[in-house]
Amino acid sequence: MLNELFSPDMMASAIRLTIPILLAALGAIYSERSGVVNIGLEGMMVVGAFWAAWGSFNYGPVVGILFGITAGMVLASIHALVTVTFKVNQIVSGVALNVLAAGISRFSSLSIFGMATTSPHVSGLPKMTIKPLAEISWLKPLVTEFSILIPISFILVGVTVWVLKYTTFGLRLRAAGENPEAADTLGINVFKMRYAGIIISGAFAGLAGAYLSIEHTGMYVEGMTQGKGYIALAAMIFGNWSAIGAMFAALLFGFAEAISLRRITTLVPYQFIKIIPYLLTIIVVSGFVKKSDPPAKVGTNYERGEG
């Protein structure tokens, strides 16, 4: 059984399933570090998945991916407008967007493809294979026919670390989430930083959705995100708002999901195996694992006060 659990096939599957969680979690870092909770990740993934499928269906996979990213950003802009400008509770806005995204996607799917819940099959980006490594048998599943978005996602982890730590933008973004009042007195536009953080998170979530529909599944299917937006948020929390931490957390969740997809011969009914990723999410989010250390002002809207 252990052989089965840690087989190369299983690892390859785990990594494939890690990517959407990882991308969305990386996005969430930008949003949360700027001080805004983005529980609307799920919805941003949904619209990303749908519009990527549409784009790919009409203009090919590259355009599809760009459409997915754009769709995520558009939905994120609404979140930014509502929370940053109109100072609505961030959770309420995010949940509303999730509902909105589900509705829009179903409506658009029906009117464009004539089917409410699925799109036709769409093509993905060309798959990659690393030839020399593919000859080693236990590495083969990992290095053959994989999506180019997989290495890109891991590169984005490094990029995120670098942006947050070593750029002016990253420093200001974090300041907006830690102490917006201080940032404001230093002439930093807190509202602009938060818009930026949220919209970047929308781009990442849209890309995550695009990966799901055109790379992973080859079509859009209603409900295909299966709560991955929420799981991504949990991964980010588990990873303590750091890109590296979120990456390991996403790998853990991806692995859990890979297990749940396989009917491993065990004594436990497979329905129980299926709940593993979600159970893990609950445990992580309820702070079982360790004390989390969020940005000081995440979740609170900033208002310039007088008096």
Binding site: T168, E178, N179, A182, T185, L186, K291
Partner: protein, 509 residues
Amino acid sequence: MVSRDLVIETKGLRKSFPGVLANDQIDIDIRRGEVHAIVGENGAGKSTLMKMLCGLYQPDAGEIFLNGEKIELSDPGKAIKLGIGMVHQHFMLIPRFSVTENIILGAENSNRGVLNFKKAHAEVEELCKRYEFDLNPKELVADLSVGEQQRVEILKVLYRGAEVIIMDEPTAVLVPQEVDELFKNLKLLVEAGKTVIFISHKLDEVLEISDRITVLRRGQKIGTVNKEDTNKKHLAEMMVGRPVLFTVEKGEADVEGTVLEINDLHYSENGQAILNGVNFEVKAGEIYGIAGVEGNGQTELVETIVGLRKPASGSVKLLGKDITGKEVVDIRKEGIGFVPEDRHKRGLVLPMTVAENSILGKHNSKDLKKSLLLDYKKIEALTKQYITDYDIRVSSPQVEIGNLSGGNQQKVILAREFSGEPNLIIAAQPTRGLDVGAIEFVRKELVKARDAGKAVLLISADLEEVMAMSDRIGVIYNGRITSEFLPEEVDHQQLGHYMLGSEKEGAAK
């Protein structure tokens, strides 16, 4: 038009907020290279004036001149660019950032958006050296002491090339040693040609550091005086508009038996020990003052005594009866009057009326009820009694308490907590944020309670207050009472020393 040695000049500045005229016709002039103090009571308009000078508020009328030229300060960024920097009373720092990150934030030297930390660290180090600031640029601000954090704030404005540094009540959060250090730094700054505007209501400090002093009262400028031409009494009179008593008048303590007895009290939170074995007792007829830098367990100690927190071990005895870890209701029944340090959080319910607030905690008393319901007639009568007895300035008991001034709010709490003959009165920061008149009143009431034979436990961050009020002083450090003194045994400096962790030889329990 304007003489050349003036850095800042204002003419007819006015600013009003809904219902208040915070500044009216303010003309001030600040000379280059001086320390200019702005003094006044709470609500006199000091902060409003300074916020206009650093661009946070826009004046309704009037003009500001910098080096003789009229300027418009539309936002703080503009003020910084023109060389006016403000060090806020509540630090605007990010604990999770390093010293350097905090300093460069918003004024980063970057190459196409990429930060050069090596250069930034070097620049900060250079500034530290020039003005003799003892700081490590790479350290996290979360690990710094309050005094060090203040230095980071000053460096922030220096890094931006400030020529005029406005400091809003900079000594409020410091112990005496840190104040000395700050004054040394300020003198170096002035020697280097900078100008310092120093806002305070602590007259001793003002007289020590400033060259000239401007007094504000109720939004108006009363006058500007040279340090040599004035003294504390004179300044206080200018501030308040009448002669002020600085000393607390009190007779010899008539001490009787022990009322409160704390034995080896321990308390911890999130695995961190906060109280590490507190021992002391308070007797009837005395004021026992606890002095200490904030965050050494004062809040937790008080809240453990009144039952808001449960101790890990140790005991609290009131008149010999063990009340350790009991519910708040039961402890209050034993006769404790509690003036909490945060009156908005613990003392009052702001959206409720004065009458409702006056009976908080007594709402179950039979005297105030008619069978199951509250008897509002009786409540109103009681409140009116409080209003006369404690000179609470309010038009009716039905006014929302949030609309009252801090002093009047505190009087409602005193009235509520002092009535009903408590055996022990715990007053935590009882005069914080009050103006001189209200402070006088609260102190008199505490002395009155002590003279009536009650035990009074006073916790205050204001060293002057502890020294002036207490019959005995305990110094709290790191969750322990490390030394005890009679007020005549020590001076400020020594007490400050003990507050930073030294222990009195042989006397520590």
